[in-house]
Symmetry: C2
């Protein structure tokens, strides 16, 4: 068997860290290491023990090396000369390699994203910048977007990529360039309301749409989110509980629908020719799928992890492929 050509896909978030060894031929994941060494934890650690800027990069590299070591052992492979493509909060001010945001537009092949190379001993790789508009910012989703876009057969026309999460993103692409986007605090609102507000006593987590009534509660929530005032409708969660109109599980799905419907209502203004894409995990796909159905929106589903790996691969192609 000929030696496989590899790259390493690194997703470095605020609270999580993930390394994946990828074969370039079929983008197969050969091995994976994940931990809670997000940039926030490393930054706190660095502040505690040292404050020299030079020293700072070392803290991040040490985390990279620790995880690479574990992967090397697991796969019985030498990985230190394999290029590492890093996206996410690693490019933030408190991250591994602070890089300015790239102002829109940016090209779907990643050629005009800002990057910063690093090398540390045998380690080598690059960190990918976030992107910004005058009033909004993204870090990480630009890489998923590139990856998802790369799988399209029809790249012309107007596209909207919905990337759900703590801070959901709607990114609009035209002529193979990202031209605008908006952030929605959907996941964060749901978390705050369901665990920190008065509503926490009126709802209970349940397995996704286990009962038919869960689905109809969710759909009702989406409709109310699309057409009514969120700040009032959330209180329905409490009164439905007081009046025993709905179970606490139904309330959970109603609130999910309400928050997601509120996020998606801006799509009611988008031009009808738009081609929609949902880039998400299998956990969130049923929620957004059902919500988009309420809007009569058909979409292509992209798995967010595959999109991320594909996005890293594009950057690998740009910066490393010729060197092999």
């Amino acid at each position: 068997m000929s030696k496989k050509i590899l790259f390493i896909s690194c997703d470095w978030g605020t609270t999580n860290f993930r390394l994946r060894v990828i074969g370039t031929e079929d983008l197969e994941v050969l091995g994976e290491e994940a931990s809670d060494w997000g940039i926030q934890r490393i930054n706190i650690q660095w502040k505690k023990t040292s404050k020299s800027e030079k020293n700072r990069e070392k803290f991040f590299c040490d985390v990279l090396i620790k995880h690479l070591d574990a992967l090397s052992k697991k796969l019985k492979l030498a990985l230190y000369d394999v290029p590492i493509l890093v996206s996410g909060m690693a490019s933030a001010n408190i991250g591994f390699k602070p890089i300015d945001y790239k102002p829109l537009p940016f090209n779907m092949n990643g050629s005009n994203l800002l990057i910063d190379h690093f090398s540390y001993g045998q380690l080598k790789g690059l960190v990918i910048s976030g992107v910004c508009t005058d009033t909004d910012v993204i870090r990480g989703e630009e890489t998923q977007l590139m990856g998802a876009f790369d799988t399209l057969t029809n790249r012309d026309g107007f596209h909207c990529f919905i990337i759900p999460g703590t801070h959901s993103k709607h990114i609009f692409v035209e002529q193979q360039e990202a031209i605008s986007f908006k952030t929605y605090l959907t996941g964060e609102f749901f978390e705050l309301l369901s665990t920190k507000s008065i509503l926490q006593h009126s709802l209970k987590t349940a397995e996704t749409f286990k009962h038919l009534s869960h689905q109809s509660s969710f759909q009702k929530g989406v409709k109310h989110g699309l057409h009514r005032n969120f700040l009032h409708e959330v209180f329905q969660v409490r009164t439905a509980d007081i009046f025993q109109k709905h179970t606490k599980e139904e309330n959970y799905f109603y609130l999910s629908g309400l928050v997601i419907g509120t996020e998606l209502k801006d799509l009611l203004q988008v031009q009808p020719s738009c081609q929609y894409h949902l880039v998400t995990s299998s956990a969130l796909a049923p929620y957004y799928g059902l919500a988009l159905q309420e809007l009569n929106i058909t979409y292509t589903l992209h798995h967010s992890e595959k999109a991320l790996i594909k996005g890293h691969y594009q950057m690998y192609q740009q910066y490393y492929q010729n060197s092999f």
Copy 2:
């Protein structure tokens, strides 16, 4: 001097308790006692030491007596035969006297509100019920509403009473009857977003409209709340901080405006002949005043504490005046 005829106004909330001795002639506050003996704390205390239902009422009466004692000493007045009018969460399930909600409509003189009398030794008084629609509930604001309405010279026509708070209320009155209302989680949202969300790092409390830029930030927030998607616009607080477009204080006022504007946007649908009233404290009046100005809404300002006392006085007149 002839002996003054008195009643006691009691505002019993979830986390606060307040007694006021009021002269019936001019509704002057002769003395006041307040504490954090809200119904929640008493309920927890009762659950810890005893669970007999009979015993339960005693726990609440003991709190009443303790505060009455303090007031008696302060004012050098015997207060035990003075009727006590209680509103707020005292009528909740975990409260002093659980009473069902009165379904709308209810009359502005309070004659068809549900009440429950109590007497305990020399203590006597009544607890006022909350009111409800099919999908919403109120406890406490019904009494403020009656009090504010009682001061009107023109009681005919269609009125909207805006009562800001943790859970703001918009109550609509026609032909001297409350016919509908809506709850908005305005105060709770602001609290969650400004202290528990990612936005907490991007804003800073400041004295109300100390600088002109505070006022314009607030007004911008109101406009965005009225016409844009709240779930996206809140993120402007963070990006305005990242891009150093606004100070953290300006962000504080922008977020206040955004939340209040979102609450008030439903008023854009209300019939133009509506007469508006703002029932609030002097702390919140400037915010809602400026926000209503953005909607070109003129209103009558009612002080919330005076309205509460006046509301209790109406119930006093209904149930006690003839007995003197």
